[in-house]
């Protein structure tokens, strides 16, 4: 290929290195003033409560005052607390049940509805509509579906002369029942995020693939999925963080039972803090939950970055 003849001036212009930006004192002050409101609110609402929570977790403290420093005693108690260990297991299990399902189902729905027809617009609204409902409504609806005494599933099974399934009172089924409810409730956000990402994929890539006679599966693997991988990461990280905070569904549908089979960490924290008034212990459990979420989200992030670097 013939080299382009670039004028000398142009070459000079290209190699000119811009001086690093240096701010004057007044510019620095203006910059700090500019970010000060955000920093103040950030420190007040996030940094201070975080540090305060850590400090509280090192105390034997009551909801109505009175506390003494006990060091790591609350953490040691938690490690020996069977109910807390079960809550941690339940929560991780719940995340495993819901996050992959939400990601895959969200992507599948987005792929199916990524068209400009009127029906797809209606269906997008329909699938997203569950997300705007409150947890109370969602759990009421699903209790009516799942209860073995006159629930929708029980009635359908009765038509087939099959016995009702005790979704909410069987220790093996309670957590999956809460997970199904949650997937139905939360599917809207991943779907919308994936839809937004799909609409950013350049059309000419698909046209090129079509010209190369690439099939649907090949186009999905080679063009669509690589193009939306950052969104997929965002969806997974958001959902991991959200689902680790399971509370309302378990509180209303099962009260964490039976036999603590569906007790999540946040419900455990709530019970310890507000029913036992033992807020030092509850704060310690909260810090452990914070660490679990942080590790899980960072692991996702780092694993994804590693693949990109590779």
């Amino acid at each position: 290929m013939e080299a382009l003849d670039i004028p000398a001036a142009g070459r000079e212009a290209d190699v000119t290195v811009r001086r690093p930006w240096t701010a004057s004192a007044s510019e620095t002050r203006a910059g700090l003033l500019f970010v000060a409101p955000y920093l103040a609110v950030f420190c007040l609402l996030l940094v201070y409560p975080l540090l305060s929570g850590i400090w509280l977790s090192l105390h034997k403290a009551d909801l109505f005052g009175g506390s003494r420093f006990v060091g790591a005693e609350n953490y040691v108690r938690l490690l020996h607390d069977d109910i807390f260990r079960q809550a941690v297991w339940n929560t991780c299990n719940f995340v495993i049940l819901t996050v992959p399902a939400l990601t895959v189902a969200g992507l599948a729905l987005a792929l199916a509805l990524n068209t400009s027809s009127r029906w797809s617009a209606v269906l997008r609204g329909l699938f997203f509509s569950s997300s705007v409902l409150s947890v109370t409504i969602v759990t009421l609806v699903w209790r009516m579906v799942l209860i073995p005494d006159g629930g929708l599933v029980a009635n359908l099974l009765a038509l087939l002369h099959l016995p009702a399934i005790p979704f909410l009172s069987d220790a093996r089924l309670a957590l999956p029942a809460v997970a199904i409810t949650t997937i139905w409730w939360c599917i809207g956000l991943p779907m919308m995020l994936f839809l937004a990402a799909l609409q950013q994929v350049p059309k000419d890539l698909y046209e090129a693939a079509a010209l190369d006679n690439a099939g649907w599966w090949r186009t999905l693997r080679r063009i669509t999925l690589p193009s939306i991988r950052r969104t997929a990461l965002v969806v997974v990280v958001i959902e991991v963080i959200l689902q680790f905070q399971l509370f309302g569904q378990a509180q209303i549908m099962t009260l964490g039972g039976p036999n603590n089979a569906s007790l999540p960490i946040v419900l455990f924290i709530y019970q310890i803090g507000f029913q036992r008034w033992d807020i030092g212990y509850a704060a310690a459990a909260s810090e452990i939950l914070f660490c679990i979420i942080l590790v899980a989200a960072m692991a996702q992030f780092l694993a994804s970055r590693g693949r990109e670097d590779g």
Binding site: L63, G66, L168, S169, G257, P258, N260, Q275, R276
Partner: protein, 439 residues
């Protein structure tokens, strides 16, 4: 700068005007209660005698008080049952309501921390004498010789009986249901009932139920004089007496003599639809079931009876009981507001008969002794609760949480998820851990 000063002046003027208006108007009291919300039906009603059910009667009572006392306005805040998590949060935030419904079993939690005010002097000032409380109500609201609440009622779990099905099973004599006198008789009657009717003998709310199992356990432990709370900081559940009770309920479950997998709503509907013989639920359902029994065509039509828990063990005739009461959270209040609170308490005391139409036992001896209370349906059948109702010792704190823990573990044992002895050991350990870690 001038603009900012002007803005401050404007805001200050508006606030001052607002304060002035408030002080010249009626005294506003915030009343926080459970018992549900029914404003659509009773929001404008002041006819207490026409109201039905807990929600209807309490809503109408407050409406009536507001109508009769124009210088006071009671603002009602309805909380999800039982509402103590919300109350605790409000107290911790320093923003409590003026008057709150509280179970008598919960009073110790708050009184020992000085979170609710003793009411002796205030009640005396409006002519309410604690000597008029029933013994059960007095024991329920007094702590350390001081009155911490105005009692509203006492309640207990009862055996609500479908007499029509009992007749089919041959378990009615002289128009009264036959009650078992020991666990063996209970099992025999339950089998007889199920054999004759094809339906379970017991209807129980078992799903999402934080306290029913524990109340059954307490009742039958009391009947065995088991002394399971000899010390308010330690429970003892790894005993033959507790094992016997769990074994009995497990056997009823295993043999299909009880309903399974029903929550409160489903269990209530099952009883109303005639799907079982005995529904284990509290005094508050008497009115609703009696009403159903008056409806022609209802499965309960002409066939509803209600009795206290049968005495299955010989040591003592006792039923675990609790009660509803009104407490005043500790806060700075004006004398005007304090006087208004006690006028409202006096009004509630004066209307205890109206409240007792819910089915709960009145908290005042004079009401129980009155002919009009005795004339209410089924009250004669449950009147012996006045003597047999037995709460836990008042020093036992966190009773609601304790009930929840015990119920969880009992459910595990009865439904076969844990051996009985393991469940009892776990319940004992968990409850004692709660009590050991109280500050």
């Amino acid at each position: 700068m001038r603009r900012i000063l002007a803005l401050f002046a404007l805001v200050a003027t508006v606030l001052a005007a607002g304060c002035q208006r408030e002080s010249s108007g009626p005294v506003e009291l915030t009343l926080q209660r459970f018992f549900g919300a029914c404003d659509a039906e009773y929001g404008g009603s002041v006819d207490v005698s026409a109201a039905e059910g807990e929600c209807g009667i309490i809503t109408t009572l407050v409406n009536r008080f507001n109508a009769q006392n124009r210088d006071i306005h009671v603002k009602v805040n309805v909380v999800y049952w039982p509402g103590y998590d919300q109350l605790s949060a409000e107290l911790a935030a320093g923003d409590p309501p003026d008057l709150v419904t509280m179970h008598q079993s919960v009073i110790s939690d708050y009184s020992q921390r000085g979170l609710i005010a003793p009411l002796d002097a205030g009640l005396r000032s409006v002519g309410v004498d604690p000597a008029g409380f029933t013994p059960a109500a007095r024991a329920g609201v007094m702590r350390g010789g001081r009155v911490y609440a105005l009692p509203f009622d006492n309640w207990a779990m009862l055996w609500h009986v479908n007499l029509n099905l009992f007749r089919t099973a041959g378990l009615v004599r002289d128009g009264k249901p036959l009650m078992p006198h020991n666990p063996e008789e209970l099992l025999a009657q339950a089998r007889q009932f199920t054999h004759a009717t094809g339906k379970p003998y017991l209807i129980q709310s078992m799903v999402n139920e934080p306290s029913a199992y524990a109340r059954n356990l307490f009742t039958f432990l009391l009947q065995q004089d088991a002394g399971f709370f000899a010390d308010p900081r330690h429970i003892k559940l790894q005993t033959p007496q507790a094992h016997r009770i769990l074994q009995l309920f497990k056997q009823l479950y295993d043999e299909g003599l009880t309903t399974k997998n029903q929550d409160y709503t489903a269990a209530t509907a099952a009883f109303l639809n005639g799907q079982g013989g005995v529904y284990l639920v509290g005094t508050w359902m008497i009115g609703a079931f009696d009403q159903a029994a008056r409806q022609p065509g209802s499965p309960l039509a002409g066939g509803y009876a209600v009795v206290p828990y049968p005495q299955l063990y010989p040591a003592r005739d006792a039923t675990y009981a609790d009660g509803h009461s009104w407490v005043v959270p500790t806060a700075q209040r004006s004398p005007q507001k304090t006087r208004a609170i006690f006028r409202l308490l006096r009004f509630l005391k004066d209307n205890d008969f109206a409240w007792s139409r819910t089915g709960h036992l009145p908290a005042y001896s004079a009401v129980i002794a009155s002919a009009r209370w005795r004339a209410l349906p089924h009250r004669g059948d449950i009147a012996k609760l006045v003597d047999t109702a037995a709460p836990l010792a008042p020093g036992v704190q966190r009773q609601f949480l304790i009930q929840q823990i015990i119920s969880e573990e009992m459910e595990s044992a009865i439904t076969g998820q844990k051996p009985i002895d393991t469940a009892l050991a776990d319940a004992e350990r968990r409850v004692n851990d709660v009590l050991f870690n109280l500050l």
